[in-house]
Symmetry: C2
Subunit: 333 residues, 2 copies
Amino acid sequence: MLGGMSGKHRMRPRKIAGERDLIAAIRKRAGQHADHLSRGILNLGIGDDCAVLRPRRGRDIVITTDLSLENVHFRRDWHSPQSAGHRCLARGLSDLAAMGARPEAAFLSLALPAELTGKWLAGFLEGFFALAEEHAVALAGGDMARSPLVVADIVLLGSTPQGRALLRSGAHAGDVLYVTGALGGSAAELDALAHRSGVFRSPGRAGHPHLFPQPRLAPGRKLLRLATAAIDVSDGLSTDLSHLCEESGLAAEVYRQDLPIDARATLEQALHGGEDYELLFTSSPETPVPAHLAGVAVHAIGRMKKKSKRPQVEMVDGSTRAPLAARGWEHFR
Amino acid sequence: MLGGMSGKHRMRPRKIAGERDLIAAIRKRAGQHADHLSRGILNLGIGDDCAVLRPRRGRDIVITTDLSLENVHFRRDWHSPQSAGHRCLARGLSDLAAMGARPEAAFLSLALPAELTGKWLAGFLEGFFALAEEHAVALAGGDMARSPLVVADIVLLGSTPQGRALLRSGAHAGDVLYVTGALGGSAAELDALAHRSGVFRSPGRAGHPHLFPQPRLAPGRKLLRLATAAIDVSDGLSTDLSHLCEESGLAAEVYRQDLPIDARATLEQALHGGEDYELLFTSSPETPVPAHLAGVAVHAIGRMKKKSKRPQVEMVDGSTRAPLAARGWEHFR
């Protein structure tokens, strides 16, 4: 084509060099991987203009998309390609978890410099497919292009029982506020990466809340029977709680002493750090919520209240009470 | 957050400066726009962790994703923001057209430099929503981030009657090969843009096959009753026909004198130019195919054959016969 402009590029194989070879390799990898999967609704995956899903009766489809950009969402000098691939998929899976959804299919749009199509891309796909296999998600399609910086856009489709998806808007005044796992670990590990400190040195993926966050899919599905509203903690507790309040038309208070803070993190990181990918949810005070959901600890950290003239979210620490402003990350600010 | 790293960013409004304002504006625009739509399956749009679709009984869901990158898929000095927004959506809609699908919902992941969030973004959305309204597609969600170059990833969901989606793999030996509209216009207009020639000067969107391509959704849906296989001409006739052949396990021949070539285009542009977003389809020789589908001209241009030792695709010109190699655009080549 003229002027370096390109047409569209569906994932499909051809026996010529370049993009086709890459896509063929990804398609082969996705195929091997799909062999492990059993009861998906994916009817047709990579290789046509679109993928085809056959929805199950009585279930809704939920969809989310998340961008991962080099130097914005990850840095190649801090994040291994395995971490970049894992994190790209984890972002989308965490959104499904917050809806109480079962993952059904993933689509990956990936643009990268030509010099990264070898070892770096292999590492990215290794991290991506390791997490995909853990959660039985099939890669059903995507797009590929050349670009001066790595751009990965992940699309996740999941399903929930009809009309039962967990929304941000379902909380009631008086509901108890809970969070899974611990907060601040991701920001603390990112800080350690930036300062080349050795705090987070466990081998493997476990114990790396920033490099290999674990989306809370199994706890999320248990929340379908327990929670009135849910959101994942991606932008930071203060920011994500403000979203929950706004969509539910409520205010909230958080109890300082009840916050589960990662042992390596500061209070600041736990409140505003973001990217913990834990679930923040509300439940009626009459609902018994277990201390663990699918093996993940759950802590009551506050309660939902009617809106008033007071700040939308407050933190209560002993006898003091202070506004908790949304201070998580925001682009273009 | 630390180090310029960001968390996830769902489309949702907040009353603080920056990303939230942009998303609020897009949400408002999408909402106004959704008011025009009638029978969508979109249950919940922008504002939660995921969008929710309620599939109709007896229909499959089809999905496609397409990247649009600045300086790869468009250039800001050649393409107006309206054109960039139109083309971004048109790429995805054309994939739905090639499946015979009805559009149901769109998701837009958009990353751009801060200095483009004013007038340029407004123009992009103007082009995007003008085409979305024409085809009654709701914007159901997406993601937004800051980036040194414009990155737009479009996700389109559509629906087809169950098991009836038009595939690339359904052609039979002996089927007639057809194409909608005319070929080469997009490459010819791109060439005119590159050389600042005045060949494509019509006011408005009509008559601009490159800047404002028209996805063939209405003809595509009529093909559900006529075609055995279909693909959209995005990478160029030679390349897209080779895909159709491969997925159907066939060979093909194309008749030079029957090719509908845009009056401003060369044969080379018609064969290899790409981005025409016409539909290339096959139909049994017994099936009567009208000369127009939903107002778009249809031409028989060749036929499908069993694979042999001859080249996969040949062009027949009078008494001569020559291989037609796939020479459309490919990344990383």
